[in-house]
Symmetry: C2
Subunit: 444 residues, 2 copies
C-alpha cells in the first residue's frame, strides 16, 4: 500500500485573535463546558440539558415556539433542515438575494426541488419592504426565504413588516440569522417568523458545529404533515406520509420527536456540541440579550469609526450594516492578502477576505461574541495602522485608535449619566452560586 503510519503532535493551535467575519475565538467558558465528560443519550442529566437548551434558545431567539432545537451540524445544516423539511418538490419559493448566503438559500431550495424565484439587489444594499411585498404578490410563494444578516456584504435585511405580508398571503416566513443573532436586535415572534436557523460561530461565541433553530406552530404543522417513522424503530399504527421529507438526517419531524417527550431515537445527539451550544446561550441570557446586542453595537461602532479614522473607506449601506462586521475597502495599490498575512503572522490577528464580487476588494473585520471587546478593537486598529504603514499605504497616524477611543469616551459619558449594564457588572443575573435552583432573574 505504501502507507506510512504517521503520528502527529497533540492539538496545540497558535494564539490567534480572530477578528474576521467568523469563526471568532470561542468564549473560554464555552470551551470549558465542552470539556465535560459525556453522559448517556437518555440519561436524565442529558435530557434535562436538552430541555434547558431549548428554553435558553427560546430566549436567544425571542420566541415561545415549543419546537426550538439544535440541528447537529454547521449553520448550513440548520438551513438545509429548515428548507428540506418545509419545501416539497414543485413548491414556489421566493428568495431575495443581497449577498452570498442568499445564493446559498436559492441553491438549497433548488436542490429541494422548489420552483425558486429570485429577486436581487447589488451586494452592499438591502431591499425596501415594498419590493419584497410586490414579489410576494407576484410570485405567490409557499415560502419566503431570506437571510437576515449576510456577512459577505455586512448588511442586514430589515425584516419588519414582512411577517404581516406573509401572514396575509399565507406564506411561510423563514430567515437565517447565523451572522446576526445576539449581535443585532432580533425578535422571532414579533417579526412573525415561522422558521429561524442560526449557528454558534459568530456573536454567540462558540465553535461551528451546532445549528440552533426554531419553528412556529404553523411551520411545525407543515412539517408534521410529512412525518414518517424510521423502519428500524417503527411500531404498529405509525404513519408514513407519501410526501416524505427527502432527507432523513434533516427530517425535522423526527428531530422534534427526538427532542420532545417521546424521545424517539433519531441521531445520537452530539453531546459535546450541545454542551457548547447551551453555554453560548447561557452567556447571552446571563448578560441579557439587550445588553449583548448593545455591546456589539458599541464595539462595532468603535471599529467602524476606527477604520474610517485611519482614512479607510468602508463598503456597503451603513444604515443597514450589522453591528458585528465591517467591510473595509482595500486601498489602491495595497496587496490585500499581504496585509492579511502580515496581520496574522506579525500580530496574530486574523481579518477576513471576501467572496464573489467583493473578492480582492474589501477586508471584512468582525467584532463579535467573545471578541466584541474594547481591547480587541483597539489592538486590531493599532496593528492595522502599523501593517498598512509598512505596506506603504497612506494612513492617518493614530486616527484609528483615536476615533475608537472617542466612541468609548462618548459611551462612558452616556453610561455615567444613565448606567448601561455590561457583562462584568450585569445586575439582573444572580452569580452562578445563587442560581442553583435553575431559575433566576425576572420576566424577559
Amino acid at each position: 500500500m505504501g502507507r506510512v503510519k504517521r503520528v502527529f503532535q497533540q492539538i496545540d493551535p497558535p494564539a490567534r485573535l480572530l477578528m474576521g467575519p467568523g469563526p471568532i475565538n470561542a468564549d473560554p467558558r464555552v470551551l470549558r463546558a465542552m470539556s465535560a465528560q459525556l453522559v448517556g443519550q437518555y440519561d436524565p442529566a442529558m435530557t434535562a440539558y436538552m430541555d434547558e437548551t431549548q428554553a435558553l434558545y427560546r430566549e436567544v431567539f425571542q420566541t415561545a415556539n415549543e419546537q426550538t432545537v439544535l440541528v447537529d451540524g454547521t449553520s448550513r445544516a440548520g438551513i438545509e433542515a429548515a428548507l428540506v423539511s418545509l419545501i416539497e418538490p414543485g413548491d414556489r419559493v421566493l428568495v431575495p438575494v443581497f449577498g452570498r448566503f442568499g445564493h446559498l438559500l436559492r441553491e438549497i431550495a433548488e436542490r429541494c426541488g422548489a420552483e425558486v424565484h429570485v429577486i436581487e439587489v447589488p451586494w452592499g444594499q438591502v431591499f425596501p419592504l415594498e419590493t419584497i411585498t410586490a414579489a410576494i404578490e407576484r410570485v405567490k410563494p409557499k415560502l419566503l426565504a431570506v437571510v437576515h444578516g449576510d456577512t459577505s456584504t455586512t448588511v442586514a435585511q430589515p425584516l419588519e413588516g414582512l411577517g404581516e405580508v406573509c401572514a396575509q398571503h399565507g406564506v411561510l416566513f423563514y430567515t437565517d440569522v447565523t451572522a446576526s443573532i445576539s449581535g443585532n436586535a432580533f425578535d422571532t415572534d414579533a417579526l412573525g417568523l415561522d422558521a429561524v436557523t442560526a449557528g454558534l460561530q459568530k456573536c454567540l461565541g462558540g465553535p461551528s458545529g451546532s445549528a440552533p433553530a426554531t419553528f412556529s406552530a404553523r411551520a411545525v404543522e407543515a412539517i408534521r404533515s410529512r412525518a414518517s417513522v424510521e423502519a428500524g424503530i417503527r411500531t404498529e399504527g405509525d404513519v408514513t406520509s407519501s410526501r416524505r421529507i427527502a432527507s432523513n438526517y434533516f427530517d425535522l419531524a423526527m428531530i422534534f420527536d427526538y427532542w420532545g417527550p417521546q424521545r424517539l431515537n433519531h441521531h445520537t445527539e452530539a453531546t459535546t456540541m450541545l454542551y457548547g451550544a447551551r453555554e453560548c446561550a447561557r452567556l447571552v441570557v446571563e448578560e441579557g440579550l439587550d445588553q449583548t446586542v448593545a455591546r456589539h453595537a458599541l464595539h462595532g461602532s468603535a471599529m467602524l469609526a476606527g477604520v474610517q479614522g485611519l482614512g479607510l473607506e468602508v463598503f456597503g449601506d451603513l444604515e443597514h450594516k450589522m453591528n458585528n462586521v465591517v467591510a473595509v475597502v482595500i486601498p489602491d495599490g495595497v496587496d490585500g492578502d499581504a496585509v492579511r498575512g502580515a496581520m496574522l503572522t506579525d500580530f496574530g490577528i486574523e481579518i477576513g477576505t471576501s467572496f464573489g464580487p467583493l473578492h480582492g476588494k474589501v477586508w471584512r473585520i468582525g467584532t463579535m461574541g467573545y471578541n466584541a471587546r474594547r481591547d480587541t478593537v483597539l489592538t486590531t486598529l493599532s496593528a492595522l495602522e502599523a501593517v498598512l504603514r509598512r505596506a506603504g499605504a497612506p494612513v492617518t497616524t493614530g486616527g484609528g485608535v483615536g476615533a475608537a477611543y472617542d466612541v468609548y469616551a462618548d459611551a462612558d459619558r452616556a453610561a455615567a449619566s444613565s448606567p448601561v449594564e455590561t457583562r462584568a457588572d450585569a445586575g439582573t443575573i444572580a452569580p452562578e452560586a445563587a442560581s442553583t435552583d435553575g431559575t433566576a432573574g425576572g420576566a424577559a
Copy 2:
C-alpha cells in the same frame, strides 16, 4: 409572551461509566484536545490539522484513498452524505438488512429516490456470502449498501469476498462501520470498498458529532460527475451538472473541494469536533490499530465470559459477535428497565436497552474505546451481580467477575510467553515529546 428568563447552572454532568452500545465515555485526551482555542478556517494551522486528520483516518480505515474526510454531523450524517452523493433517483440499491441500521440504510436510500431491494435475515444472524452474491446477480444494483457491525443485534456482517463480487458486476460497495471501526478487524482497501462511513462515539472514544468517511477513486468519479459549484462563489468556467446531488450540505464533491488543495469554501468546519476527531484517530494510531482491535477482543471476551459466568444467556450468533458489545437476555421475571435504572442510580453505570424486535428482551453491554478496560469490565460485572441478586434473579455468586478474571489470566499467560503490546507500554510509538517532527513509527 409569558416567557420567563431562566438561567441554568453550568454544565456539570454526574459521573457515569457508560457501558452501553455507545456513546461511551470520551477518552479524556479527546476532551482535552477539544478544549483548545479555535483558529481561523483557512489558518495554516487549521488546514494542516485538516491534512493530518485525513492522514490519520487513512490509517484508521486502512486505505490509501485520497478522499478521506470528516462529514460535520453525527454518524448518520456520514451515511446520508455517502448515499445521497452516490445514488441518483431511480438507481437500484441492494441493502442486506440484519438489524436496525440496515433499515436505516434502506430508508435513506429510499429518500434518495433509489429503487431499493432488501434482503433480510432475522436479527442476531448475518448473511452467507452466497446469499448476497445471488442477490447482486439478481438485482444488478448500482450500489450495495451494507452495515458492517450493527449494535442493535451486536453482530458484524463478514464483508470478505463481497468486494470481488461487486467489482465483477460493476457494483459500488458501501459500508457503515460506526459500530465496528477500530474495535474489530477492518481494512477498507483489502475489502475492495468504495465508500465507508463512521462515527466517533463507539470504539474511537470520542463524542458523537463528526463522521469520518473515505471514498475510493471509483466512488469519487461517480460523485464528481455530479459536481456543482455554489452560486455565491461560482466563477466563469465552473460547471453545474444536471444530475446535481439533492443535498448541498451532504454534497461530497463540494466537501472534497473544501478538504482538497482548492480549499473551496463550503461549510465552516466544526473546528472543535475536528480537534476531537483528530485526537480519536491519533489515539488509535499511537496504540497501533491491531493492538486497539486486540484490546477490544480481550475485554469483549472477558465481558462475554462474565455475563455467561453469571448464568445469563446471550443473544445472537456469537461466531459473528462484534468484539465491543454483547446482548444479554433479560431473565424471565426480571424488569429490564428497573435493573438498568438501579445500575445507573446506585452504581453510576449505564448499560443499554434495545430497539425493535429485541426491545424489552435484551440489555446491550459495550466494552469500547476508552471503556475497553479491565477495571470497567470487572466493575460492571460486579455491579450487575449485585443488582440482579437484589432484583431476585438467580445469579451465580462471583461467577461473572471470576470468569472475566480467568480470561485475563489466560491473556496474561499468553502475553508472558509472547508479549502483546497494550496502550500503557506501546512499544512502536515514541512518547509525545519525541514525535515533535510530526512523524514516527514505521510502515503500517
